[in-house]
């Protein structure tokens, strides 16, 4: 129907145009019903994206009248801002590890527990899901890996004779990234995990029985030829949730390693964005950062969509 509206201008489609108008009039209550939600959505989700794109071509700083500077912000970003390039690298490393790892872990765990008794399954689900909804409870990793001898990990390693003095986990560039990745993974079994559990429960059992008769030999073949293709819609939804999550855990890094992290070793595009937009008020420049980040997220989603369409073929 959207297409009819777009084509409406041409002469030969005039009857379809009329039909669309008639439909619009007949269903006008639909527009009333979506209006409150769409108004909020336009104001606080769509408008910020559009405004960012426009501002990214200016030198806006909240105080002076903005001037158009065309691509200057983008040129500065990629050619003149070394820290941004570190941020891009870190963001890609984070997202490329945490996104797929959390996605695969969510699916594997959901698949493992699928055949458990419902009551046991509910308990196991809670254990795996709890860290993702418990707010700032990830701070406990700071206590576990604390740099003094009260840190449980350090004390245990010393006890075992593996190290002689405490490791400053959060001040040593060698450990910061891996630790942040582990903590991010720990909090990442969220919506996609629940979606997978539901999707697996929804696969029709008769498909498995038919598969067994048709020569499916083991659970891996069953997974690839029956389960995954049946669950494609959930896989798609889960992928989107995992990708979005994998770009959004700058807070974990700040809380554990401080801001900025030592030598910018865990500095992500999100940090760079907040630094220029929130602290330095270089809104034009930070908007360019936001647009780049937005493009990366959309690109990642498009890529994954392509990959998932190949499942089971």
């Amino acid at each position: 129907m959207a297409k009819t509206a777009a084509k409406a201008g041409s002469q030969k489609d005039i009857s379809r145009f009329r039909w669309t108008l008639k439909e619009m009039n007949r269903n006008k209550v639909g527009y009333v019903m979506i209006a409150p939600f769409m108004l909020v959505f336009l104001l606080f989700t769509v408008a910020p994206v559009v405004v960012s794109m426009v501002i990214s071509f200016t030198d806006f700083n909240l105080l002076q009248t903005p001037n158009f500077v065309f691509f200057d912000n983008y040129i500065r970003l990629f050619l003149d801002d070394d820290i941004f390039l570190i941020a891009v690298k870190n963001t890609f490393v984070f997202a490329a590890i945490v996104g797929p790892a959390s996605y695969i872990m969510s699916f594997m765990v959901a698949w493992f527990i699928n055949e458990l008794e419902p009551k046991i399954r509910a308990v196991v689900t809670l254990i795996f899901y709890a860290p993702s909804i418990s707010g700032q409870v990830y701070l406990i990793w700071g206590t576990l890996f604390s740099g003094d001898s009260y840190g449980w990990v350090n004390a245990t390693l010393i006890n075992l004779g593996l190290i002689n003095e405490e490791i400053q986990f959060f001040e040593n560039a060698k450990y910061v990234m891996p630790l942040c990745i582990v903590v991010a993974l720990w909090t990442s079994l969220g919506t996609s995990f629940l979606s997978f559990i539901a999707g697996l429960q929804g696969v029709d059992r008769s498909l498995y029985e038919a598969g067994a008769v048709d020569g499916v030999r083991n659970r891996w073949q069953e997974l690839w030829y029956i389960t995954l293709p049946t669950m494609k819609p959930q896989l798609m939804f889960g992928a989107i949730m995992s990708i979005t999550g994998s770009f959004g855990f700058g807070g974990v890094v700040d809380a554990l390693c401080g801001n900025p992290s030592v030598d910018y070793c865990a500095w992500t595009i999100m940090h760079h964005l907040n630094d220029y937009g929130g602290a330095r008020f270089e809104v034009g420049y930070s908007s360019a950062i936001a647009v780049v980040l937005f493009a990366i997220m959309m690109g990642a989603n498009a890529l994954v969509k392509k990959l998932i369409s190949k499942v089971g073929s």
Partner: protein
């Protein structure tokens, strides 16, 4: 012919013992990775002072005590803004934000799935694409828009954007599509019920699991909201923020800090325990078909 065996009256197919054992082992290892840090928070919160500062640190607690929780409440009473104010702020924002999201989100979800107005497909696609980017991307620009609307440093800066949260609407719409049959709605319409009445009296009672799911998501978001760039008055800040301030007082407050984390995590976990089956039911229709 493939081997079939039964387990508890269900036909279970093609399961090797080695595979079962391997999967169980992996599950136990991953489960330990997930569960032990959570357990450690609870242990820390129950440790008396001498156990908190013993060397080498011990994972489990020997003489559990509620002292840390008492300390936390004492610390709360020393805050500059009365602690009840922070609690009120969080409750107020969470309740209004969640109710608005539930009502406006369900209304829109109903229209998107059951009212055939032209343009609904691309509009819904636009709503759906917002799931693909993280909201911190738009935080700075949002600040500019909110200052233009004079919403900065008011409760509304947190409440109104919550009304437009898209994940709840998305799940609600998918659930309505697969659980509310058109035939039921059609008969209500033939009886002369208005579209709003059909929505409220017929459709809404049929999608209770989705309500709960939407409420939980909105609740989690607002409950866990800490400091926000939109709020700078101390009197308007959240419970989560205030508790963070108390426990930021360094290592001498390790016990109270653990106690506060236990309180902060207990609420969402309890809510999830109660609503789990409804949420999973809603997720059954969460799939994205194109």
């Amino acid at each position: 012919m493939a081997r079939l065996r039964t387990r508890k009256h269900k036909v279970v197919l093609n399961r090797s013992v080695g595979g079962d054992a391997g999967i169980t082992l992996l599950l136990v290892l991953l489960g330990a990775f997930m569960f032990l840090p959570m357990l450690y928070v609870v242990m820390q919160s129950l440790k008396p002072l001498d156990e908190l500062w013993m060397f080498p640190p011990r994972f489990y607690v020997v003489n559990p005590t509620f002292r840390n929780f008492k300390d936390l409440f004492v610390l709360m009473n020393t805050s500059w803004v009365p602690f009840s104010r922070y609690i009120f702020n969080t409750v107020f924002i969470t309740v209004l934000g969640t109710l608005g999201n539930l009502f406006f989100g369900s209304l829109a979800a109903y229209a998107f799935s059951k009212v055939m107005f032209p343009g609904r497909k691309w509009m819904f696609k636009a709503v759906r694409s917002s799931l693909m980017f993280h909201k911190t991307v738009t935080a700075v620009t949002n600040f500019i828009i909110m200052s233009a609307l004079h919403m900065v440093d008011t409760y509304w800066a947190l409440i109104i954007p919550a009304w437009g949260h898209t994940l709840g609407l998305y799940l609600m719409k998918q659930f309505m599509e697969s659980n509310v049959t058109d035939a039921v709605l059609e008969s209500a319409r033939l009886d002369g019920a208005s579209e709003f009445r059909t929505f409220w009296v017929i459709a809404m009672p049929m999608v209770k699991p989705a309500w709960l799911t939407l409420i939980i998501y909105s609740f989690q978001d607002l409950w866990n909201a800490g400091s926000s760039i939109y709020i700078h008055s101390e009197q308007l800040k959240s419970f989560n923020y205030a508790i963070g301030q108390i426990t930021a007082g360094g290592i001498k407050r390790a016990g109270a800090s653990a106690a506060s984390q236990v309180i902060m995590m207990a609420v969402p976990i309890l809510v999830f325990v109660i609503t789990q089956s409804n949420i999973i039911e809603t997720m059954g229709s969460s799939g994205m078909k194109d």
